[in-house]
Amino acid sequence: MEALYHASPFTGYVYPNETIIPWTVMIVIYPYMTGLVAGAFSVSSLYHVFGMEKFKPVARFALLTALCFMLFVPMTLLLHLGQPQRAFNAMITPHLTSAFAAFGYFAAFYAVLLMLETWFAFREDNVIRARNSTGLVRSFYRAITLWSDDISEKARSYDHKWMLTLAIVGIPSAHGLHGYVGFVFGSLKSREWWGSDMMPVIFLFSAIISGIAVLIVLYTLVCKVRKTPIDHACVRGMGGALWGFLMFTLLLEGLEFANVVYKGKEGIEIIMEYVTGPLFYRYFVFQFAVGAVVPIIILGLMFARDVRGKAFLVGAVISSLLVLMNVFLMRWNVVIGGQEIAKTMRGLVYYHDPGGREGLAAALAVLSGPFILLAILTRVMPPWKEMTEKG
């Protein structure tokens, strides 16, 4: 029996069944990854929908990034389920009062939308590749263009029209998908730490900052590896967006916390014990101070002093890495944090890694999946054209 479950240590009084924490690190990276999808998609939409030329160099790359993360999102849930082979039960007989029931539809819809948008975005390139190659390579590219061969002016404007439509539908879908993930937690009345109306909004904004941050890091990395010039205007644009959204996110998170403390409902003692004890470093120090305040200051100073060029790049990348840590900790502190405060409101449970398919190692493997897939996909469908032509 011993190997089958992983009880967590606790202090105070917790319900006997609470000594096993139900949602593990897999459910931490689930919103982390959907957040990156929504955020990356937003950046791509800034160009595709709002025509902000600044973001053109990363627009298609952002699309591929979003797609790669989206394809790995279901993995987190499947690894978490006790009976993954029954996962489709939720789609065959969705129980519509459940905030989880429509997830399958929602995610599938959005994944298809992303695939279509990517298909249109890369169709012209792929047709040209098919024409310029022979044999198996040609057949492969013919296949991924779905045997379309028309890249006349008319056909391309048709592509653009579809991309615009898809991107316009995509914006509310991406944000809906992620706000909805916030609702999964925020709609529960059983946990004071989760049951908040602000949860979906906080999830959404932290998603946007994580998406921008991951693109700043990846874009810089790609340019360095490929030894191509960096479009500083683009990084500056993303840095600005990151700065703005980050401030807003911090404000929302601060308000949320202030609300819990100020209202001081039943059980506030245990919440205070928690945030000043086990949560102190990962919440106040790393999530708020290092992960949010520091990048806000770095970015703010750089804009105030009109720092440009390489110095800005370094500052932006450091800020982005800190933001990525911030958002990861935010997910952790919500998902794991919520479960560490016992429903009895008289005790604390301490999460410990269960190992195996739901453990930290498995989570890191799933988290690295999108990056590996992205490396492969960018070989198959390089999004570099507009990165180099502007540089």
Binding site: Y15, T19, I20, G82, S187, L188, E266
Partner: protein, 283 residues
């Protein structure tokens, strides 16, 4: 979705494909909007009640019953026979972390404002019993001065508006016509959303079967006219069970003769497990 367009004309093939996609997109959106509308109705358990045909239990009509459970906390002596009987009757995992029913001990030491609380799964109590399969409360307060102390048995409240049913994405957890909240173990996907949603900590994940578990009021017994194992075994009659449709039943009498309370009424879950002898510190 991705398929090869038929016919020689590639362009018109692509068009057709796109038109088809447009329709698919429209219908999926419609579906989502519909879904969202229903989601908006959260909190109404009626939408969650599954209306199946008569269950395949011979001589049992679940529309005729409305089961209810009573707990007289003033009687409980903390002997924990109920916990052991439940585990034996229902094959509950023999550990200190999986319980369909449990008992809490509340103790106010002399002069203390707030109680010390523990249950049979407290490490000290497990050490006293010497096994994760047998349960007893240890004597930790033997030499202490105590102002007030009592035990509170707990089970799934078989809520009228169960949040576990509300959040279950598959419908594996459902409310029966006779008031019990049950889980279809062959349909549960093991997501544990219900474990999170239950405010009372009544649910747990079964490590062997990899599905969620909780008290069923011994549904296999009550539908044959027997009492739940915990009720049957309680030596002091602290646990009362019966049909609230039947005026002569123990539970109807219990409800008529006492001023009862439920746990965490603020959740709106409307438990059908009724207590007497609670305290403000019990939640």
């Amino acid at each position: 979705m991705k398929r090869k367009p038929k016919g020689g004309d590639i362009k018109s093939g692509r068009r057709a494909f796109l038109r088809g996609f447009g329709k698919a997109l429209a219908s999926v959106s419609a579906l989502m909007i519909g879904g969202a509308g229903l989601l908006g109705k959260k909190g109404t358990s009626d939408a969650a009640v599954i209306k199946p045909e008569i269950p395949p239990i011979p001589d049992y009509d679940w529309t005729e019953h409305d089961w209810g459970y009573g707990i007289d906390a003033t009687r409980c002596i903390g002997c924990l026979r109920c916990v052991e009987a439940c585990k034996a009757e229902n094959g509950v995992a023999p550990t200190a972390h999986h319980f369909r029913t449990w008992v809490e001990r509340y103790v106010w030491l002399e002069g203390e404002e707030r109680p010390l609380v523990d249950s049979q799964s407290d490490p000290g109590n497990i050490a006293a019993s010497g096994s994760q399969k047998e349960y007893r409360f240890d004597n930790r307060y033997q030499d202490k001065k105590i102002d007030k102390a009592f035990f509170v048995p707990k089970i799934c409240n078989h809520c009228r508006h169960p949040s576990c049913v509300q959040v279950c994405p598959t419908g594996a957890t459902f409310k029966t016509e006779d008031g019990a909240v049950l889980i279809d173990h062959d349909y549960c996907i093991g997501c544990q959303y219900c474990v999170q949603a239950c405010p009372y900590g009544a649910r747990f994940f079964d490590p062997a079967d990899q599905v969620t578990e909780k008290c069923t009021w011994c549904y296999h017994r009550i539908t044959k006219g027997l009492q739940p194992a915990c009720v049957e075994v309680c030596p002091v009659g602290a646990r009362i069970f019966g049909d609230m449709n039947n005026e002569a039943s123990d539970i109807s009498k219990f409800l008529r003769e006492n001023r009862v309370q439920v746990l965490k009424p603020e959740t709106g879950n409307a438990p059908t497990c009724f207590y007497i002898g609670l305290d403000k510190e019990v939640s």
